[in-house]
Amino acid sequence: MTGGLASPIEIESIGGGLAFEVQERSGASPMSCYQCAKCSSGCPVAGRGDFKPHELVRLVQTDQRDAVLSSRFLWECTSCQTCATRCPQKVDIAAMVDALRAMSRAARSVAPSTAVPIFNDIFLDAVRERGRIFELELMIRFKLRSKRFFEDAGKAPMMLRKGKLPVSGTRVGGKEEREALFTRAAEGDAQ
């Protein structure tokens, strides 16, 4: 039969590769979502992202890879786990978002407004190097790499005054062992 809808919904795309890839990587089951939007009701950043959580899940279901991987929501989600806790279908949206962040980076689709990937890299480098986070060093390295010099510029002096920003950090022994751990984790992910 011809005619009918001018631009029919492409049913073929529903249940496409993205949902299965996300499930494989995160253990979350996006296909179980029936769009009740309970996740978005409780999400603290639903009002600011380009998508709300239930919309993101729907885009995953319908295989909208580019829209999902370039979404700003991925980098504004606070990982507070409210969505995963309340979902009646037990869709672990928080785990799904974690997997999508990694996929977004791998596809070089990260939303340009975010500095989170830079921060994550600096943070994990510091853990590899020292074993623990030295906050002052982390803040300085982030400012230098992200070039966001003025945001919260008054915080460091205030924290120093309040004794909340020690000027030296701890190092834990076993750096070589840690380097090996990070290397094996990266190799393990590639498998």
Binding site: S26, P44, V45, R48, E76, T78, S79, C80, Q81, T82, A84, T85, D92, V97, D98, A99, R101, A102, R105, T114, A115, V116, F119, N120, D121, F123, L124, V127, G131, R132, I133, F134, E135, L136, L138, M139, F142, S146, E151, D152, K155, M158, M159, K162, G163, K164, L165, P166, G169, T170, V172, G174, R178, A180, L181, R184, A185, A186, G188, D189
Partner: protein, 288 residues
Amino acid sequence: MTYAFFPGCSLDGAAKDYHRSTLAVAAKLGLDLPELKDWICCGSTAAHSSDPLLADALPAKSLSAAGGSTVAVACAACYSRLKTANHHIAGDAALRARVAHVVGRDYDGRTPVLHLLEILCRDIGTPRIAAAIRRPLTGLKVACYYGCLLTRPPEITNFDDAENPTLMDRLMEAAGAEPLVWPHKTECCGASFSITDSSIVLELTNKILAMAHAAGADCIATACSLCQLNLDMRQKDIESKFGRRYNLPVFYFTQLLGLAMGCQEDELSLSSLVVEPKALLQAKGIGR
């Protein structure tokens, strides 16, 4: 009672006051908290949003060194990461083997992990807390704020009621204070954006402070390094951005317990609070 203490990175930095007040309260209760040997960072949000295997391996490395002792945790984010790694590793033999390969030794995922609130409220118990109170916090209306990661997800943390936890409320009650019924106990403060995007943190902390204020709180009690820092340190910025002035002191729950147990103010590092609690404490006849 002895626990292997995992203080977490922030307790040696921005949350030194949480560290000091925890040890002061522990001393009053005969609670021994030797540090877990060579513990390393839990990996926090940076690890779980980058690399799931690393996010399980970092906690596994620390927890496998506990030698069967129960691990005590102060920070809600560390607590969440340690318990999540345990949950993953104990429930999945294949993952356990992969983590063992990454860490360089096998770990079964079964080292018990408890937050300080669970230890004080359940293991020590409120009768013993009440017996240690020297200067009750009479008339102090406290909004107990748990943040997101202590209770969520409940099948992993198994902490308390996920929507209305009361462990901290019970401790405050034992200390003579008046814990408030209020709805934002487990809302998120946006801590993972503390350094990367303060606009998110300001928006979320403003809502929490507004709700505590509306509920009639004199102060907020917290059980997480980052929650305390954000709620306390950002009140000036909130005033300039949203035009709301709260002037609500934000304590660690250990600081309030310590005050009630008769600890000295410097043992509790009260001077590191950004919103000055002095006037409030004087008005309520707390401290001295």
